[in-house]
């Protein structure tokens, strides 16, 4: 029987890998992948807590399914935005995207 903590350790590592990636990657697509890692670590948490703490109930499973659906849509939107940025600016390096300051 695998303990609950093992799952949580994996998800925590995923979470911080994601955060690190989000803050350090220079490419928008890589940042997007990092965001997906964060989201998936949260999904794992939901499922694990549901499985170990509230067995017989389904809210956590459904919530993670819901989050996966939402993140798919969010990724589609993000990629569409990135493609448009590329069309306008001819690159997707996040350092160059400082048009939104003051």
């Amino acid at each position: 029987m695998i303990q609950m903590e093992y799952y949580l350790i994996v998800s925590t590592i995923m979470m911080f890998v994601g955060i690190y990636g989000f803050l350090t990657r220079r490419n928008l697509l890589a940042m997007l992948i990092a965001v997906e890692l964060i989201l998936n670590s949260v999904d794992i948490n939901f499922v694990v807590f549901n499985r170990f703490l509230f067995p017989g109930q389904l809210e956590g499973f459904f919530f993670s399914l819901f989050a996966i659906g939402i993140s798919a849509a969010e990724t589609a939107v993000a990629i569409a935005i990135i493609i448009n940025i590329y069309r306008n600016m001819r690159n997707i390096q996040v350092r160059n995207l400082d048009k939104m300051k003051w």
Binding site: V94, L97, K101
Partner: protein, 629 residues
């Protein structure tokens, strides 16, 4: 009786139509729409009157109140709600007839009088608005609906006085009329609120059980309502707007400032009469004194004015004073013992509306002919304008109270009511009736006889008015001739029972003698060309003459109080405080925000990942804070 709703709806539709289409409509088309609609409204009003009075009295011997249409417009908590509806009772039906008749005559007359004016369509649109509001006022089912339409007539009066909006005097006059009446309406509104608060309804006839607890406040509420009525009906000292309102087109003066809107205050007191007589007779008597003083003041001023429309304006104020006095001298609801004044007041309202509209329309013909309001431009006009001359004479005789014209009958009832109240009041009012005869015939002689302004008439020959203008004159003259024979007490009386008018010949003889004396004096002074006596008297009593000519400086007193005291001592410091302290504080806040934003704007770098670090740091910080707590 459901068709009565069209009496309100049709003029409203006509207002919307002519108002929205504006100059896209041909002037004649706009006029025709307004006139036809008013004609239909008049026909419907006559039909209403016919079927209402034709339906007969109920078992108690009164004409039952009918409410053919009513809706709850604005519910408040409890039983308090504002309704919009149509209430038919003897006085509202009588007013429907008066308003629609005069309005129709004015609509027809305006075809001739306003011909070729710019804004002809706008004029007819405003006339429709006024007609709608005035009709809505008289058929109101509750005091609040009355107030709503009361303000609407105020607005349409403002719009029509300021019709010639390029003329400075017209703008000033319209503002004055609106502000003075609005100021008085403040009293009305406060009165309504007190009334609604303590009786729990806006109805004209609250349950007597509810009144029990409210009777302490009823005199106050009714007194405040009378202030509103005094403003609209130009009672002293709120009369100052009416003479200036003569800047509007003359048919408007006939409709609004002579026949209908200015009697709204009388109508209000008549409407609240059961409450006045039951719970606040002393307030009612105060209105009588106010009315009597106003009647006297206006009559004196009217004797020396030189602008014919101003003479008529002051005569209107004086006659409304008569109506208010008649209501105020009532001491009980029974017409046989002290309640006669109610019927007399309504009767005088009816007859006065007809002959005063006639006088104003006649004055309009004269102004149309000589292009001036001043008496000095007139004189000897009887040769040029026979129809106007005859109809004007009829109206003058009626207002002077000569048998058998309508004014005689109604004025006789008023004087009888006054003598019933106290002999002093009776004699004062009789004397004022004599003054009325004097100044009306002064006006008549100065226009049609007397010293003729020959140079002016040679340069521009006065001519009789066109048919559209003379037909209403003749119609109203016929009404004036015959209206006295209407058995008015059979329809309207203070307790609703039939009252047979019997002329008190001792009172009638006195008033006839006084009126005849007034006419004779005017004839002696003004008939001849030289007017030696009149001019001699004016120079002998030059102080009095000058004071009366300047309306006893009431306008100047108002000017002084508003400009020197209110504006200079209160408004200016308050304005300074607003500009510098209140606005200054707000400007300080804006200045601080501006500076702080400049200081922190560097944080908005535009780099997503830097935002991410801030976000992460914030989230961690919050987590730590939550863990520590």
């Amino acid at each position: 009786m459901e068709y009565t709703i069209f009496i309100l709806l049709l003029p409203f539709l006509s207002f919307i139509l002519t108002g929205l289409l504006g100059t896209k409509l041909k002037p004649v088309a706009a006029g025709t729409v307004g006139t036809v609609v008013t004609g239909i409204v008049a026909a419907l009003s006559y039909l209403t009157a016919f079927s209402y009075f034709g339906a007969g009295r109920n078992a108690d011997g009164i004409f039952p109140v009918q409410i053919p249409w009513n809706m709850e417009w604005l519910p408040f908590g409890g039983n308090l709600h504002i309704d919009i509806g149509i209430l038919l009772d003897p006085i509202s039906v009588m007013m429907l007839v008066v308003i629609s008749t005069v309005s129709l005559m004015v609509h027809i007359y305006s075809f001739g009088y306003m011909k070729g004016e710019t804004g002809f369509q706008r004029y007819y649109s405003f006339l429709s608005l006024f007609t709608m509001s005035m009709l809505g006022l008289v058929v109101a089912t509750n005091i609040f609906q009355m107030y709503i339409f009361w303000e609407l007539v105020g607005v349409s009066s403002y719009l029509l006085i300021g019709f010639y909006y390029t003329r400075k005097e017209a703008i000033a006059a319209s503002k004055k009329a609106f502000i003075v009446t609005r100021f008085a309406d403040l009293g009305f509104l406060v009165g309504i609120l007190i009334y609604g608060f303590y009786t729990g309804s806006f109805s004209f006839t609250p349950d007597s059980a509810v009144i029990g607890s409210a009777r302490v406040f009823l005199p106050l509420a009714l007194g405040l309502m009378f202030i509103g009525g005094a403003g609209k009906s130009a009672m002293f000292p709120l009369h100052i707007w009416l003479p200036d309102a003569m800047e509007g087109p003359t048919p408007v003066s006939a409709l609004i400032h002579a026949a209908t809107m200015v009697v709204a205050g009388v109508y209000l007191v008549a409407r609240m009469f059961p409450l006045f007589i039951g719970y606040a007779p002393e307030v009612l008597h105060i209105t009588a004194y106010v009315g009597a003083f106003t009647a006297l003041y206006a009559a004196v001023v009217a004797c020396v004015q030189s602008d014919i429309k101003r003479v008529l304006a002051f005569s209107t104020i004086s006659q409304i004073g008569f109506m208010i006095v008649a209501l105020g001298v009532c001491t009980s609801a029974d017409p046989h013992e002290g309640g006669l004044g109610y019927m007399a007041s309504m009767f005088h309202l009816f007859t006065h509306a007809m002959f005063k509209a006639l006088l104003f329309l006649g004055a309009g013909c004269i102004i149309h002919a000589v292009h001036s309001n001043e008496m000095s431009a007139m004189g000897g006009l009887r040769k040029y304008m026979p129809v106007t001359h005859i109809t004007f004479l009829v109206a003058c005789l009626a207002i002077a109270g000569i048998w058998p014209l309508s004014g005689f009958f109604s004025k006789d009832e008023i004087l009888a009511a006054c003598f019933g109240f106290s002999p002093v009041m009776g004699w004062i009012m009789t004397a004022i009736a004599g003054l009325t005869a004097f100044y009306m015939f002064r006006l008549y002689y100065c226009i049609f006889w007397g010293r003729e302004n020959k140079e002016l008439h040679a340069e521009h020959k006065p001519h009789e008015a066109p048919l559209t203008m003379t037909v209403p004159l003749v119609f109203l003259a016929i009404v004036t001739l015959l209206a006295g024979w209407i058995p008015f007490g059979e329809f309207v009386s203070s307790n609703g029972q039939a009252y047979r008018i019997h002329i008190d010949w001792s009172v009638a003889a006195t008033s006839l003698c006084v009126a005849a004396a007034g006419i004779a004096l005017a004839t002696w002074m003004y008939l001849r060309e030289d007017r030696k006596i009149a001019d001699g008297l004016a120079s002998r009593f030059s102080g009095l003459h000058k004071a009366a000519y300047h309306r006893f400086y009431i306008d100047e007193i108002y000017q002084f109080i508003t400009h020197r005291i209110i504006f200079a001592c209160i408004s200016t410091p308050v304005a300074w405080f607003d500009r510098h302290v209140v606005d200054g504080f707000m400007n300080l806040l804006a200045w601080i925000s501006n500076k702080v934003s400049w200081m922190i704007r560097g944080m908005q770098s535009g780099y997503v990942q830097r935002y991410g670090i801030w976000f992460l740091g914030g989230a961690l910080g919050l987590t730590i804070v939550l863990l520590l707590i």
